[in-house]
Symmetry: C2
Subunit: 300 residues, 2 copies
């Protein structure tokens, strides 16, 4: 039995009529399911479906009861039905899932993920992906310090950034399709870049920031310290309420780039510290003024 090498992507059904599967209904998977439902993607009235698998049956039941999904299934039952799959798993689980379930995906399916590192994912996909499947790696820049499906509703995508790191083999029509879907979920800017570029920039904007927040809390045992907070400490350290297993993976998987970013940050901190120590008012004032101008030129 021969299968056409590049079947027309099943995912190119109108999004309303597509069967969409979400693997992992944690904070992000749950928020993706809710955003797709709100956007009318996988709508049973149009012949579509929203399916999900999760290792926790309680989560699947909660999602069913709230009509966020149409059915909770095992991966083996779900994958063969899906035109489009969102893999909403921690990086290591995602890699194991792909390896174990490669045979289960529907021929020609479009697959995407939401992992916070992209190099390792791209590497695995380029090596092992079934020829007929199309995998577009992605990273929605959203989240919350409160994890799990129970907090998914509060995780807003509105106007947030979304990074895609397409592969050369990705079909242009699938990329367009996914971009349109991402916009329908409420995201703002979509940036297309290389996986390594993503990992280097994310090491700075996301991983280093979380690590700094963790270090700030790590070095102060007094939980009453927030009596002396004016908002900046609270804003900086809210993200220290992190999902420890996931961030451990992200920090360690991206360690080379992250360590480079830490070193850059430490150099800047050291040189500001030296100006303070020396009481070099004029230089410090000029340096801070440049910093202010640079930050003002950034959005957000």
């Amino acid at each position: 039995m021969s299968r056409p090498r590049f079947p027309r992507a099943a995912s190119l059904k109108p999004a309303e009529a597509a069967t969409v599967g979400i693997a992992g209904l944690g904070l992000m998977g749950g928020a993706v399911a809710m955003a797709l439902r709100r956007a009318g993607v996988g709508d049973p009235k149009a012949g579509g479906r929203l399916l999900a698998c999760d290792r926790d049956d309680g989560t699947l039941n909660a999602a069913l009861t709230r009509q966020v999904i149409d059915q909770g299934l095992s991966p083996r039952e779900m994958l063969p039905r899906c035109d489009l799959v969102f893999l909403c798993l921690n990086p290591s689980t995602l890699l194991r899932f792909l390896e174990a379930r490669m045979g289960d995906f529907k021929p020609g399916a479009l697959i995407t993920d939401i992992a916070g590192i992209k190099g390792k994912i791209v590497e695995a996909v380029e090596k092992n992906l079934r020829q007929d499947l199309d995998f577009i790696p992605g990273h929605p820049m959203a989240g919350s310090e409160k994890g799990g499906f129970a907090n998914a509703e509060k995780c807003s995508f509105q106007g947030k950034n979304y990074i895609l790191t397409p592969l050369e083999r990705n079909r242009p029509e699938n990329l367009e399709y996914l971009e349109a879907l991402i916009r329908r979920m409420g995201f703002g800017r979509i940036t297309l870049t290389k996986a390594e570029d993503h990992d280097r920039k994310i090491a700075f904007t996301s991983q280093l920031c979380h690590l700094i927040a963790a270090a700030l809390i790590d070095c102060e045992a007094d939980t009453e310290i927030t009596r002396f907070g004016g908002g900046s400490f609270e804003d900086l350290t809210r993200i220290a309420m992190l999902n420890a297993p996931m961030w451990t993976e992200l920090f360690i998987e991206n360690r080379e780039l992250l360590l480079g970013r830490i070193a850059q940050f430490e150099r800047s901190l050291d040189s500001l510290k030296a100006l303070i120590e020396a009481g070099a008012e004029t230089e410090l004032r000029e340096r801070l003024a440049r910093v202010r101008d640079r930050r003002a030129a950034m959005s957000g």
Copy 2:
């Protein structure tokens, strides 16, 4: 002519009927004036007044036009009329102002300030304050990355922290009076503490956080980096749009305590970095979980 050594504080007039002066109508002085006005303090209908002095006549005129104050005056004209004075000046300007204007204050007046460091202020006040005056040092934990009177309206005091570092010589009835006024301005928790304790804690919650934000921006020249931001980078670095002259003063004036806090932070960052470098997953995960729990136990 002899003057009683401890005249009954003129400031103990009902706040509505008091003449209140604000020295410096920048972001904080402007916000204080607006909060007092909204609270009905210094109300002309009750015989009170809100006065202000500022080196910039344009600012005084803007405040007059918007009826935030009743009159703009020179310090020499304003101070002899005021039952209560808010000194809303940068630390160095505040110290010069106190020295130059000590003779101008109304006998028995209650004075407070809003400077972000307290040790130097307390030292100067304990040494040089006129015997009949009562000075209660304070620090409203509010602000904005957008400075100046033009942004004062957006600087909310609602539910914010306020620190007071009273002196032994402060009259209890004046302290009560000021605390009541602070609550009427909308602030939440008022914490009374020693100046040194304030300076040590603020070095952490405020100065170190601003310095970290500045260092983060200092080490990244690409202003398009926020395309890769998911909120944490933006939240952490918004305060890098700092008032360079003021923060230069705060960093350098409090440098001893600040340098100690930087060292603590660097130790924590270094030890987290070592775990990442070593790929010590279990230890890193446990450390991050402890950080998460500690931050969750803090308010805000």
